[in-house]
Amino acid sequence: MTLFFFGIALILAGGLSAALLHRRPAMADWGFGLLVASGCALGATPAIGVLAGRAVSGVSLAMPVPGGPWAFGIDGLSAFFLLVVFGVGLASAIYGLAYLAAERGHRAVATSHLLTAIELAALALVVTARAVVPFLIAWESMAVLAYFLVVFESEKADVRRAGLIYLVATHTGTLALFAMFAFWGRSAGLLSFEALAASAVSLPAQGALVLGLALVGFGIKAGLVPLHFWLPEAHGSAPSHVSALMSGVVIKMGIYGLLRVVNLLGALPPWWGWLVLVLGLLSGVLGVLWALAQHDLKRLLAYHSVENIGIILLGLGMGALGTSYHLPVVATLGFAGAILHTLNHALFKSVLFFGAGAVYRATGTRAIDRLGGLAGRMPLTWIAFLLGSVAIVGLPPLNGFVSEWVVYQALLRSGATRLPIHLAVLGVAGLALIGALALACFAKVGGIVFLGTARTADAEQGREVGAGMLGPMFALTLACGVIGLAPMLVVRPGLAAGALVAGLPADAAGSAGTEVLRAMTWIAILALALLLLLALGWTVWAIGSRRRPMARKETWACGYARAVPRAQYTASSFAAPLLASFGPITGVQQSRHGDVFHSHARELVLEGVALPLWSAIRGFAWRLRPIQQGRLWGYLVYLVAALLLLLLYLAASGEGTPP
């Protein structure tokens, strides 16, 4: 634990060095990079130790602090999330150095780096806090800092709008969390997680209120449908490394929160598991459909976060159902799937956001239909983006396949059990649909943005980005590859963490766990065989084709000579038939002005529910304005009145009297 706090201190020092040395950019960058890197390495060391099976003792602040003892600790669950925070956080911070270098001079780059460092520290504290007050402080710092990171380009109106929507949404979530912890803490007496866990049995209706509030509070942060409406706005508008951090790490804190609440509660009512499962299916399918409808590269990736949160929730829902129906195998596999997919999604989604950022830096546009032909101009970015796509679609030999496989296992194994949980086996159809639609979406992105020929002058001027951006991109791609080729490295601790969340011993999955690990060996062999066969096949092929004649001509396409770049298929036309067969839930609106067809994807929940609700609340608040008359004595009257009312309440309920 000491190592961990030392790491946090180093990260903060890195942030400070970036801010203090901002007049000497080179030194500031080196200082920031080195300090944050060593801080992340130090901080991650105990986490890796825990995953390898060593126990790390927690700490508790001895000083009398408000809100009971402030405790911190690292268990198997925290360790996974710490890896995500430090791994992806470090990559984002380093990438941010190169990404923001161009903006130095006209925007507050140094401040952004400082905020990134504090954000990392806050994230690390969220997953290690073992008491309500430090947890909420870290949570709120994380949320507010993320706001400042998002509104980096604050001169743009849509960025400010996105920031505002995010701020309102995240505070609504925090409010729900306050209510949850207040209610729970009341029955626990003390505000440490230990006390909360001990009092879980005494919660009314099996903790229905706590679980409901947790789903709202953490659900908004995670971005599950229909609470996702802030997410595409914020992730689309933020600088790319911040998008990666938000999408890879910050929204995962919602998942961490849900897992932690489940872990503390122990027993769960079945309705909650079903609800989470259905929400997961909804988020997955709708998220990927909405992603298909997008024209903006980063908004598209943001909707894929919604989709992947859906997959994670499918695992979480299965875990919860397994807990409710006392099926240790399903519970362990479900939670393990959720945790592993959280890790994997953080890795490949960051690669994709880094790639999108590189495209944006190189071409100055994020509109998919204005790009094209970048594979030749940005070959390395393309390779990283392609590998990231293969990973996110859940294809071997990369990491997305591994975690989706575990979620499939949980779903399929529920079928061999009893009513009603075995109905969950039908969920495989949903997961298969999500996977296939994701394939469609990334075929669209890769094919339109990187392949073909440049559609506009913007795309023509694209050049490969520097090592500062490619380095973090490839580091995370490498991590995706390692997990894909040696999945047992993460699946074994993943199963242990899954069992921990379910409140079971680490070997709760029993023979099923052994089978899963054996399958991991096979998956590793299969992935290796795939790579070897591809290499072998390609070599044989290349040698064979040397003796055959070869020619390069322009695209044949049935003899359509003089093909102009504009005549290529666009992303909109690629996705249109697929979206049409899903009807109005995709939110696509088409209009025609003369010869120009225009299609636009509406954010249904934001425009249909959140904004109308917002204006209704604003209308109501406007009517309360007369209370604000701006005279001091008036406010004093309010204060006194509130105090009196509180005292009267205490006197009436008799709670204020000492025992």
Binding site: G373, A375, G376, V390, V393, G394, L395, P396, E404, Y408, Q409, L412, R413, G415, A416, L419, L423, V425, L426, V428, A429, A432, L433, A436, L437, L439, A440, A443, K444, G446, L451, E515, V516, R518, A519, W522, L530, L533, L534, G537, W538, W541, R548, M550, R552, K553, E554, T555, A557, C558, Y560, A563, Q568, Y569, S573, F574, P577, L578, A580, S581
Partner: protein, 304 residues
Amino acid sequence: MTWTPLVALGTLLLVAPLLPGLAAKTKALLTGRRGAPVLQLYWDLRKLMGKGAVYSTTSTWLFRVAPVVVVVTALLAACIVPLDGHRALVSFTGDLVAFASLLGLGRFMLVLAGLDTGSSFEGLGASREVHFSSFVEPALFLCFAGLALASRDLSLTGMLGSPLATAWPTAAPSLVMIGVSLFLVLLAEASRVPVDDPATHLELTMIHEVIVLDHSGADFALILYGSALKFALFGALLVGVLVPRATVSAPTGIGLLGLGLVVVALLVGVVESIMARLRLSRVPQFLVAASVLASLGVILLLMA
């Protein structure tokens, strides 16, 4: 270590190009034509292998790698299916996900290779391919879920092996529904009528053929072989479900597999001659019907 799975795999690789020819011949005979020879695809492959390739100036390395990926992924997927009726080369719990994902990787690369040419025709085919496959995938997984429930096993070897044979008498209705659903999946995956028409002459109505318009020479040979292999693979799955061969010896099993594949090809030919290709906007409905059938099979098994 027995050699039968390897022999079975070899048989499948050898027999695969026969199936499209058989289907075409059946269709020709039923519609009163003489048709191309049954072995036409073998000759085509040989001819194409000797030819040089023309590459578009637009295309990149991906265009040339994709055909290799298509064949390699199909080959690896074939290693997971118990072709001799007893065991597969590779078998582990949940290998069915690997089967589907490997084929998915091949599809992904093929679609990207199509888009690599920058032609609208290929774009159109790619769009349709991903569109329809997203309706096929749920049906395939529901079939797998049904088989897993019937056999209480999560590997293809178990799902198509002796547990399935013992499950047949009690679960016949579900298994028949799953078999029919799998046949519909096969029609879609192998690009046959009523989803796609391998014999069409108008690019605007094609799916698979139009993605590979710009492939030529040996590359095209690989693509053709890959799609024939996919046809054979789904045929082998179907034969595995409908004719569990765990009770017969492995060599007989391989023989039955060959026979079964021929029957499947004939059946595809019959379907092609009595059905018209569906309007493209109707295809999703047809594929959802496959999912519905499979999910009814699953529900039925859950109730038992």
